[in-house]
């Protein structure tokens, strides 16, 4: 379970995240939705311990990530906005490196690798250099590296960015399947993704949490009955 309590992050006078509170339980796929500058990335960075909050706390299964950073990070897989990969390494070497950082070696690594590669359709490129891969494959290698240790929490920033329709479909299927028994937090701008993936939406605007609801409820808030309109109206009302 992730508990975000009175979380604030200020950069000088700017309030990037302003008193945000929510809880996410096992089996939930939650979309973080919001316009650019809403505070989604800062929120994710605080949830992964990369950025320290100005006030408030993030509890990962009851442990404050600021105080128990390493223990909490062992339970999290994170693909950042940049989706960084070491281009000079092969897919296998990069995933092995990520596994080694988490102390996963030997047969456990081989078993996890086989399963991860199969679920993300990466078997054919496992020995290729990352540099030679398409954007879609690189994105999936990033996800594979983030989940090689089978994390209880998977945090993905724009996971289907740059994927073709077929790749989008298989990645979303994978996220839905994995989300049945884990916590998944997805930051996205794509409305169809919110509907296709999540069972809850956290809408952020100017650092504030403006809605914490289900995609279906979000749709019914306005007569147009679609998420995009709801998103546009809520974020413009808040200005």
């Amino acid at each position: 379970m992730i508990t975000v309590k009175n979380l604030c992050k200020n950069y000088g006078e700017i309030k990037a995240v302003d008193n945000v509170n929510f809880c996410i339980s096992k089996g939930e796929v939650v979309s973080l939705l919001g316009p650019n500058g809403a505070g989604k990335t800062t929120l994710m960075r605080m949830m992964t311990g990369y950025v320290d909050p100005t006030a408030g706390e993030v509890d990962i299964f009851g442990q404050d990530i600021k105080k128990h950073r390493l223990e909490c990070l062992k339970r999290i897989g994170y693909v950042s906005e940049t989706g960084f990969l070491y281009n000079d390494m092969s897919v296998f070497d990069f995933i092995e490196f990520c596994a080694a950082l988490r102390g996963i070696t030997g047969t456990k690594f081989v078993d996890n690798l086989r399963e991860t590669l199969a679920s993300l359709d990466l078997e054919e490129v496992v020995n290729q250099k990352i540099d030679s891969l398409s954007k879609g494959f690189k994105r999936r290698v990033g996800i594979a590296a983030a989940m090689i240790h089978k994390p209880e929490i998977l945090i993905l920033d724009e996971p289907t960015e740059g994927l073709d329709p077929g790749q989008k479909f298989s990645t979303r299927s994978f996220i839905r399947e994995y989300g049945k028994n884990h916590i998944i937090i997805v930051s996205t701008h794509i409305m169809e993704e919110v509907e296709a993936l999540s069972n809850r939406v956290i809408l952020l605007n100017r650092g504030k949490l403006v809605k914490n609801t289900t995609p279906d409820e979000l749709k019914t808030l306005f007569p147009e009955n679609d998420i995009e309109t709801a998103f546009l109206k809520i974020t413009s009302e808040d200005r």
């Binding site: 999290i76 940049t82 960084f84």
Partner: protein
Amino acid sequence: MFKQISPIFRREFFAYFNTGLGSIMLAVYLLLSMFAAFYLGNFFEVGNFDLFSFFYFQPYIFLIVTPALTMRLWAEERKSGSIEFILTQPVSLTAVVFAKFLAAWSFAFVMLLSTVPFWIYMNAEFALDNMNILCAYVACILMAGMFCAAGCMISSFNSSPVTAYILTLFIIWGVIGVNFSPLIRLLPADGSVLSGIMQALNFDKHFQDMVSGQVSMDNLIYYFSAVFLSLWLNVVSIEYKKG
């Protein structure tokens, strides 16, 4: 701690070879070392029982090559965004800093190791003072560690590897170039505090002591405290900049 350091060390160390930077640096180092020893150091004209012509120029050669080894270690991570990747892994920042430093230092060690055949060959030709030469090699290894730690620290302040290279070059140049000996001679010879501090900070004194075969505790303390201070500043800088 070792389990955390090992994968990052391996990744950084082998990256020197994967990217080709390592092979280039190795070639540049060997060329400069041999050029300096034979051409600038008049190798066959001075008595070289301790390979003095070779070791005398090592600080200046490391001044050029060390910044190239360390410039990308943190600056590149910042530039590419990989710093977020590495700092969201369950690895302590101290372990990451130490692993990167160790990778650069190990590569510097490989560079020094590549000159051992020269030592062996000279042994066959001349009667050398091998104990003295061994001490000089130890001095070079410690000096390389000190320069690598400084380079890592400077790299952590920047997001441009080129800026990191230039700044590291100037810092190391400052360390090598600041020779307090003339000042110390002007001070009263009663062992004043100021004279003691100047002696303690004098790179030339510590390096030349070891190259001439005198390994003492204050030399070791000098090198290791410089490494420790640089790595500590490296940790503080990353911690501060990540917000």
